[in-house]
Amino acid sequence: MDAAAAPIATRPAQTGRVARIEAAVPWVVLAAAAVALPLFDDSYAGVIAQRACIYWILCAGLNLVVGYAGQIAIGWVALLTLGAYTTAVLTAGTVMEPWHPYIALVASGVMGAAFGFIIGLPALRLRTFYFAMTTLGFSTIVTQVALAWKSVTGGGIGTPGPVFPWPFEPGWGFYYFCLLLAALATWMTANIASSRFGRGLVAIRDAEVAAEASGVAKGRLLMTVFLFSGALAGVAGGLFSSLQSYITPDAFTFDLSVLFFIAILIGGRGSILGPLLGTIILTVLPEFAAPLVAWSTFLYAALLLVIVLAIPGGIADLLDYKNRRPLEQHREIVTRPELLSRILKRQDGGGALELRGIELHFGGVRAIDGLDLEVRSGEVHGLIGPNGSGKTTALNVISGYYRPQAGQARLDGETLPFLEPHTRAGQRIARTFQTPRLIGGASVLENVMIGGTVEGRCSFTEAMLSLPRHHRDEAHLHEAAMTALATVGLEGLAAVRADRLQHSELRFMEIARALMVRPAFLLLDEPAAGLSAEEIRRLGALIKAISRSGTGVLLVEHHADLIFDICDRVTVLNLGKVLAAGTPAEIRAHREVVSAYLGA
C-alpha cells in the first residue's frame, strides 16, 4: 500500500530545535543568577535566597498536587512543620541520642512522605471542598500538637534547629546546599510532569472520566504523587529548621500555606517555570516593600481573589504566546483510514463482548431492564433507540462506571469487573463520550498520548530520574500518537491546546485517543453528533475501516443513514429493553421500530 507508506511528520513543527532553545533561556538565566549570587557577597540577600530555595523545594512538589492534579491542598504548611520538627528534635538530642543532621534531614523526608500519603488519602474519595477542609484541619492540628507536646517540641518556647556541618556550613555553603536540592527538585518534578504520569495528573484534573477510560489508575497515581510531594515538603522543613535556627509553632502560620498555594496559582496550572517565578516573587517582594509587610498576607489573599476571578491561567498563560496565534480559519478534517494498519494489528476475530441480563436502576428509574447484547470482533454493531432508552447507560456498564443490580459483562468469555473503569484499557476496550472529554489545558498530542497509558513500561521512579526506559516509552508514545492523529486527520493541530479546537475536531481527537489503546473493542457514543455531512461520510469510512482490521465497534448513534450504511448488525433499545435486533435491512422493515423510533 503506497498511501500507508507515506511519511508522517513525527514532530510537530513548534517543538523543533529553535523552540527548545527558546524554552531553555529562562532556565539558563535563573541558574546563572543563582550560582553567581554569592559574588555580591551580601549575606542578607543570601538568607532570602536560601528561603526562596527552601520554599521552592516544597512548592515544586506541591505544584504536582495543585497545579497538575488540581487537588486543592491548602494546608501544606503542616508538612513543612513536621519536617522542621523532625530534623530539629532528632538533632537536638533532648529526646534521644542526637542524630547527624544529614541523616535527620533524610528522616524528615520520610516523615513528610508518610504524612503526605495520609493527607492525600481523602483526596481519592472526597470532593474538592472536603479535601481542602481536611488539609486545613490537618494543619491546625499539627500546630496544636506542636504547642501541646512540650516534652518533645518545647511547646511555645520552641526548639533549636541544627547547624549543618561540612561541606555545607552556614552561609554560602548552606545556600549552595539549598540551591542544589532545589535544582534537583525542579529536575525531578519536570521529568515527572513531562512523562505519562504528569499527563495522567492533568487528565485527572481536567477530564477524570476520560483519564480512567484511558487506563489511568487515579488512586495509585495520586498516592504516589502525594508521597513524593510530601517527601519534598519534609526535606524543605528540615532545611527550614536550620535556616530559622530556632523554631516555634508561630513560625508556621497558615499564611505560609497561603503563600505556597498562591505562588503556584500565580504561576499557572500545569507549568513548572511559572510557579517557580511565583515563589521567587512572593519570597522577595516583601523585602522591597517593607512598609507593607504587615499587609502581606492580606495582599496575597487579594491577589488570589484577582487571579481566580480575572486570570485563572496565571503567569504561564500570559507567557504562552504560541497558543494565542490565530488558527487557520477553514480547517478540513481529512481522515486517512489507510494508516490504521500501523496502529491496529490485524486481529483474527472470533472474540466477543457480551452483556447478559443487565438490570440497572437509579432509585425508581429503570435505566436498563434486562439487556442482552453481543458485539463480535470485526463487526460494526449499531445501538439505537429514543432518548432515555439506555444506550449510553449500556456503554457505561461495559466501561465499568456503573454496577448493575443484575447481570454480567463478559469479554471473550471472561467476566469483566464493574466499578473498575481504569482496567478496561488494559483489556483493550476503548471508548469515546457523548460530550467530548477533553483535557483542555493540554495539547492535542498530549490528549491523544493519554490513550497510550497502558502501553507505558517505565515506573514512576524511572520517569522521575529520566532513565532510558522512560525515553523509549516517550518516543514510542509520541510516534504512535502522531500516527493516530494522522489517521483521523488532525496531525497539523498536534501542538495546539485542545480547548481551542472545534467541536467536530474534538470528536475525531477522541477517536485518535481511543485508537491509542489498540482496541479489540471500541465503543463510540454519538460520534457523528454535530458533524457536517462530509465529515459524517469520512467518519463512516473510518469506522468501517477500524472494524475491518478486526476491532469490534459498538456504535451509539442517532443518524439513521450512518447506522444503516455501515452497521453489520443493529440492536434497538426502548425503555431499557431490546425492542429489535438484526441486520439493517431487517430493522428498517421492523414495524414497531419504525413506529416507535424511525418514523414512517
Binding site: I72, I74, L121, P122, R125, L126, R127, T128, F129, Y130, A132, M133, T134, L136, G137, F138, T140, I141, Q144, V145, A148, W149, V209, F254, V258, L265, A294, W295, T297, F298, Y300, A301, A302, L304, L305, V308, L309, P312, F362, T392, N396, S399, Y401, Y402, F433
Partner: protein, 285 residues
C-alpha cells in the same frame, strides 16, 4: 467535673452547630461550600467587643450592629466571590475565591484590631447563679435559630422559595423565582447566623482573629458528618463534637482530643463521603 464538661461542651457545641448551619444556609441556596462561615463567627466576636467595650455602645445596639455587619458581609461574599464564579465554567473555583475573601477579612481584622485575644464583655447584667450566661447564651441562640429557620422555611413564602431553590434551582428558575436575589438573601441570612454564633460564643472563645480557622474546621465537621444541608445533622453533630472534645480534654488531654476528632472525621468521610445521614448521589458520566 461532669458539670463543666456538660456546660462547656454543650455551649461550644452550640457554637459549632450554628457555624454548621451557616455553611448549610449558604450551601442550600447556591451549592457552594463557602470558607466564610468560620470568618463570620470570628467577626461576630471581634465586632461585638469593639462596639460594646471599645465604643461603649449599649449591648442591644452592639448586638444589632453586629448582625447587620454580618448580613452585609454575607451580601458582599455573594456578590464578589460566588456570583462571578458560578457564571464561569470552572465552578469549583469558589473554593479559592471564598477562601481568599475570608483570609482578607481575617487579615484586615488582625491589622486593625490586633492579633491578641481581647476579652469580651458580659452581655447580661445578672449574677451567675446556677447558670452561667457564657454557656446559656450560645445554647439559647442555637435553639432560637433552629426554631426560627423552621418557621421561616415551613410557614413563609420566602422560606418556601428558599426550599424550592435548594431542591431544584433549574425548576425554580423556570417557575420565575428570582434565584439570584434569593441567593443573596440567604447569604445575608447566613452572615447573621454566623456572627450570632461568634457573638454569643465570644465570652468563652474571646474576641480573637485566630478563631477563624478553628471555627471553620470544627463548624464543618458536624455538617460533613451529618450530611450537607441538614440542620438537624449540624445540631446533633455539633453538640456531640463539643461534648466529645470537652470530655477528652478533661480525661486524656487536648492533643488527644484534637487528633481524635480529626481521625474520626477522616475515617467517616472515607467510608461514607456523603456523611452519616446523607444520601448518596452519583451520576458523573
Amino acid at each position: 467535673m461532669l458539670e463543666s464538661i456538660l456546660s462547656y461542651g454543650l455551649a461550644i457545641g452550640a457554637v459549632y452547630a450554628l457555624i454548621g448551619i451557616t455553611y448549610n444556609v449558604m450551601f442550600t441556596a447556591s451549592r457552594v461550600f463557602s470558607f466564610t462561615a468560620g470568618m463570620l463567627g470570628m467577626v461576630g466576636g471581634v465586632l461585638g467587643a469593639w462596639f460594646i467595650t471599645r465604643l461603649g455602645l449599649p449591648v442591644i445596639v452592639g448586638f444589632v450592629l453586629v448582625l447587620a455587619c454580618g448580613a452585609l458581609i454575607g451580601v458582599v461574599t455573594e456578590i464578589v466571590t460566588v456570583r462571578p464564579v458560578l457564571k464561569g465554567i470552572e465552578q469549583h473555583l469558589y473554593v479559592l475565591s471564598t477562601l481568599a475573601f475570608a483570609l482578607m477579612v481575617q487579615q484586615f481584622v488582625a491589622i486593625e484590631w490586633g492579633t491578641e485575644a481581647q476579652p469580651f464583655p458580659r452581655l447580661l447584667p445578672i449574677e451567675d447563679g446556677w447558670v452561667d450566661q457564657q454557656f446559656v447564651l450560645p445554647i439559647l441562640a442555637c435553639i432560637l435559630t433552629v426554631v426560627g429557620l423552621e418557621v421561616l422555611y415551613r410557614h413563609t413564602l420566602i422560606g418556601r422559595a428558599f426550599r424550592a431553590i435548594a431542591e431544584d434551582s433549574y425548576a425554580a428558575r423556570a417557575l420565575g423565582l428570582p434565584e439570584q436575589r434569593l441567593r443573596t438573601a440567604s447569604f445575608a441570612l447566613a452572615g447573621m447566623i454566623g456572627t450570632l454564633a461568634g457573638f454569643t460564643g465570644a465570652m468563652m472563645l474571646l474576641a480573637y482573629f485566630g478563631n477563624q480557622a478553628i471555627l471553620s474546621f470544627y463548624g464543618f465537621v458536624p455538617v460533613a458528618l451529618g450530611g450537607m444541608g441538614s440542620h438537624r445533622g449540624a445540631v446533633v453533630g455539633g453538640l456531640a463534637l463539643g461534648l466529645f472534645q470537652q470530655a477528652a480534654n478533661f480525661l486524656v488531654g487536648g492533643i488527644f482530643a484534637a487528633v481524635a476528632v480529626f481521625v474520626v472525621f477522616i475515617i467517616v468521610l472515607l467510608l461514607r463521603p456523603e456523611g452519616l445521614a446523607g444520601a448518596a448521589t452519583a451520576r458523573r458520566v
